[in-house]
């Protein structure tokens, strides 16, 4: 079953007819099946983040259609989108974006709190997920008083708590050293394999990307190529590097 289906997405900044306008996306088209773990890669300025923002309803496309869980999100109003995001989507951001003023547990509950879910349901769901990620015992602590790894797990827990159709991850390893990156990516693999969560991750880190099942490469605002893992991360990593070399630019960065 298709969880996400993007058709001919364009995004133009600065007005359609304007000479100064820039085309960030130019007819992106792909789809994601349930249980998939897709990485989106591309050189800086290729439109990765724009794409992710559009797919997750944070930004709007200039044209094209996006269907998530059989709903057309580009036709929704802003408020409908907000409701849709907290009910159907999960988010993991660079730097985790936990709110410092809330405890880990409250942070994790946040999407459900916003949605005014039943208290017992929230507690149960929270306990289930936090236990899975071994952070249940520290639920009453504040983000700054726990380790970076624990914060990551809390952030991932938060993205899963509402049982999302798809989890969007924006450079989740962006600011991390290789050891922490490895830990985070293992978490993603875990939720993908054990919880059957569908994940869409934007990254420029080839190592992180090698955990994915499938990589879509973007260049100049359009899908350039796509590769699928055969199950061996090492081999997949090599292929990613090759693709990046073909795309240009990014191989030296690793």
């Amino acid at each position: 079953m298709k969880v996400l289906n993007a058709k001919n997405i364009t995004k133009v900044y600065g007005g359609k007819e304007n000479i100064n306008s820039t085309k960030a996306l130019n007819g992106v088209e792909f789809s994601i099946e349930e249980g998939d773990f897709v990485g989106i890669m591309g050189p800086s300025g290729s439109g990765k983040t724009t794409l992710l923002n559009i797919l997750s309803g944070i930004d709007r496309p200039t044209s094209g259609t996006i269907e998530i869980a059989e709903k057309n999100i580009e036709s929704m109003s802003k408020d409908e989108l907000a409701l849709f995001r907290r009910q159907k989507l999960g988010f993991v951001f660079q730097e985790f974006n936990l709110l410092d003023s809330l405890t880990l547990k409250e942070n994790i509950m946040l999407p459900m709190i916003l949605d005014k879910k039943d208290q017992n349901l929230m507690e149960a769901k929270c306990k289930e997920i936090m236990s899975l990620f071994e952070i249940y015992d520290i639920g009453d602590k504040y983000p700054h008083s726990v380790s970076g790894g624990q914060q990551q797990r809390a952030a991932v827990s938060r993205s899963l708590v509402n049982g999302p159709a798809i989890v969007f991850a924006d450079e989740p390893t962006g600011n991390l050293d290789s050891k922490s990156s490895n830990a985070v990516m293992k978490l993603f693999t875990k939720i993908n394999t054990e919880l059957k969560s569908t994940i869409l991750m934007v990254t420029h880190d080839a190592f992180a990307a090698s955990f994915c099942k499938r990589i879509i490469f973007i260049k100049d605002g359009a899908v350039n190529m796509e590769i699928v893992s055969k199950g061996d991360p090492k081999e997949f990593f090599e292929r990613i590097l090759d693709c990046l070399a073909v795309l240009g630019g990014e191989k030296n960065e690793i």
Binding site: K78, A82, L83, Q87, F93, N97, L99, S101, L110, R158
Partner: protein, 655 residues
């Protein structure tokens, strides 16, 4: 590109941050300058009320100067704080603290000069309007507009001094800058909140108890004027207020946690407000104090002003009165009748009371203004004051009429000797207490009057010379406000025979003046309007200060709020929900200090009213204070709405 260019470039980029600092300084300069033009205006100095007006404006200037120090310093600090991160980056790139100090100095000099000049120019432009307003409020005729060079000298030197102080402080602070701290400071604003109920409960208990106790002691004359009792009370009230502000949020949060359903429903608002209070407890506390000052300073004179009619009625119960004695104020019936016939308002009642002006002596060496006391017979006293004194032969009752406390040397149980002509007679003082008198105390100036048994009174009357037998003339009219003409002609008439006296009036005769409700009212109203003018200006200044502090606070928080709400936006908060949270948070920050301040303000007003013995008008006083508080809330609400629109708009920009 030279160092100077960097500083200038910075100035251009950071213009928005500078703007508030610039406006605060410029505003202070404008206000100060406008006031100083009045102080140095010769035509005011030539007018009748010179001394009062000079004092009023002198005090106002001092207050404005103090206010400017606080205000400019606050604006400056807020301004420097908002740039910590920038300085941190500069230092990382290799600037020394000396360089940073140089940047701060150059920027400040630019702001200071521009604000000083524009402040003076605005002040100059508005001073004419201001002088006209002042003249009409204070009823000063022939005020000619004038600008004196002293105003410039004074304003420039004062603000040069203030800026110098501010600069010295900021330079001292800048030399302690550490890169790490500068970079961190902008982020460390969200600290953990410990869940404790007790301190919050304690705080509010201390506040409530100290307020109640303060109100209670107000009613006791021995306690309310005793600094050792009053000062600790005020300090404890402030401490209680501070504790409440610091810890109440936590306590509420803890209590709410017991009901998870409600707790989670309000989670974001609650944590947001608690954190804001925790971070800004000092600001909120200062705002509360400022608010209490606004309420107190504006409400008291406003109440006095609007109560001047009632107060003049208390101070001067009869519409027109005078005492005729010592050959002064002699008038015959026919003349009186003629005067009142022409009066536009009709005479309602007329009372004449005979009294004796007697020299007196006590063991305590009591004295009085004229060296004599008015003495009245018991039957006449009881009749006119509706009392029922019954004095035996040889007894005297001392009715104290002065507003100052004390018995003025005539105590119960002691002996008082009265001198009539050649003979002195001793009397036993049966009581010496505050009591009504047949006339208001000042028509025959004295701090008390004496009442004697009718027999004793008649005996003394026999012995004294006729000029010491006096008469109180007491008149009431249909409408005391229309008695102006009668007062004028009466005064003219009474002064006439005295004029014929070649020696002129002696000191005692001069003190026997005509008293009227109308004049008392006018004097009170004039004094209160002056009082109100000064304190209202202070109130407005405090209001502006409080408003600016709030504005700066919100302004410096926009960045972190934006970030936070963008996170929430991504997770899926709707604009409506976010706006609701922000509104609630803002409302608490805006109105909590006002509520605290109003409560304290009420307590201070209650206390002050008791202190000056104004229990009679307490209800009206409180009603008027409530009007002021209400007005303050309305103003603040307007201010809140404007800030909310701007703040919410900016924070939710990306929504």
């Amino acid at each position: 590109m030279k160092f100077k260019d960097i500083a200038i470039k910075n100035f251009k980029v950071n213009l928005k941050k500078y703007l508030s600092y610039f406006l605060c300084s410029g505003f202070s300069v404008t206000i100060f300058f406008m006031y100083s033009t009045i102080l140095f205006n010769r035509s005011i100095n030539d007018s009748g009320d010179k001394e009062i007006i000079n004092m009023v404006f002198y005090i106002s200037l001092v207050v404005i100067a103090l206010f400017s120090i606080f205000f400019i310093n606050y604006a400056h600090t807020a301004f420097i704080k908002s740039r910590y991160k920038e300085f941190g980056i500069y230092m990382t790139l290799g600037m020394t603290t000396k360089d940073i100090r140089k940047i701060i100095l150059i920027e400040n000099l630019l702001i200071i000069f521009s604000s000083l000049i524009s402040g003076l120019v605005t002040g100059l432009l508005f001073s004419r309007l201001f002088q006209m307003i002042v003249a009409s409020i204070l009823d000063i005729e022939n005020l000619s507009y004038a600008i004196n060079s002293f105003s410039f000298v004074l304003s420039i030197s004062l603000f040069a001094f203030i800026f110098l102080i501010v600069l010295i402080f900021s330079r001292a602070a800048a030399s302690k800058f550490e890169i790490g701290e500068l970079l961190k400071k902008s982020r460390e604003n969200e600290r953990e909140i410990k869940s404790r109920i007790l301190p919050g409960i304690l705080g509010i208990t201390v506040l409530a108890l100290s307020l109640i106790s303060f109100v209670c002691i107000s009613e006791y004359d021995e306690l309310n004027s005793n600094m050792i009792v009053v000062v600790p009370h005020i300090l404890v009230i402030f401490a209680g207020g501070y504790m409440t502000i610091s810890f109440m949020g936590m306590a509420v949060m803890c209590m709410m946690k017991k009901n998870p359903k409600r707790y989670f429903k309000n989670l974001l608002v609650l944590t947001e407000i608690t954190h804001k209070f925790n971070q800004n407890k000092k600001i909120i506390f200062v705002l509360s104090i400022l608010s209490s000052m606004i309420v107190f300073f504006v409400a008291s004179p406003f109440s006095l002003y609007s109560l001047s009619e009632k107060i003049s009625g208390i101070n001067q119960p009869h519409h027109l009165e005078f005492a005729s004695v010592y050959n002064a104020n002699k008038i015959n019936e026919q003349t009186l009748e003629d005067i009142f016939k022409e009066s536009p308002t009709k005479l309602k009642s007329e009372t004449k009371v005979e009294f004796l002006s007697l020299k007196f002596k006590t063991d305590e060496n009591a004295t009085d203004i004229l060296g004599a006391k008015p003495v009245i017979s018991q039957s006449r006293y009881n009749q006119l004051t509706k009392s029922n004194l019954s004095l035996q032969k040889g007894e005297v009752f001392n009715a104290i009429t002065a507003w100052q406390p004390g018995t003025f040397g005539i105590s119960k149980g002691k002996t008082l000797s009265l001198t009539a002509g050649e003979t002195s007679v001793n009397f036993h003082v049966v009581d010496s207490a505050r009591a009504p008198w047949v006339s208001s105390g000042n028509s025959f100036p004295s701090n008390s009057g004496l009442v004697l048994n009718d027999g004793d009174y008649a005996a003394l009357k026999e012995k004294i010379i006729s000029t010491n037998i006096g008469t109180y003339y007491i008149f009431d009219f249909d409408n005391w406000k229309g008695t102006g003409k009668a007062i004028e002609s009466l005064k003219a008439e009474l002064n006439q025979p005295n004029k014929q006296n070649p020696l002129g009036l002696n000191e005692s005769q001069k003190m026997l003046t005509v008293l009227s409700r109308l004049e008392t009212y006018d004097t009170l109203k004039r004094a209160y309007s002056m009082f109100m003018f000064v304190t209202t200006v202070m109130g407005i200044l405090f209001f502006i200060a409080a408003g600016s502090v709030l504005f700066f606070k919100q302004y410096t928080e926009i960045g972190s709020a934006k970030e936070k709400f963008y996170k929430l936006f991504k997770i899926g908060i709707t604009k409506k929900e976010a706006r609701k949270i922000l509104s609630k948070e803002l409302a608490v920050t805006f109105f909590a200090p006002l509520i605290f301040g109003s409560i304290m303000g009420y307590a201070f007003i209650y206390f002050m009213t008791h202190l000056v013995g104004g229990q009679d008008v307490m209800t009206e006083f409180m009603q008027n204070a409530t009007k002021v508080v209400f007005g303050y809330f309305v103003f603040q609400a307007g201010f809140f709405l404007v800030t909310r629109k701007k703040y919410v708009g900016e924070v939710l920009e990306k929504f």
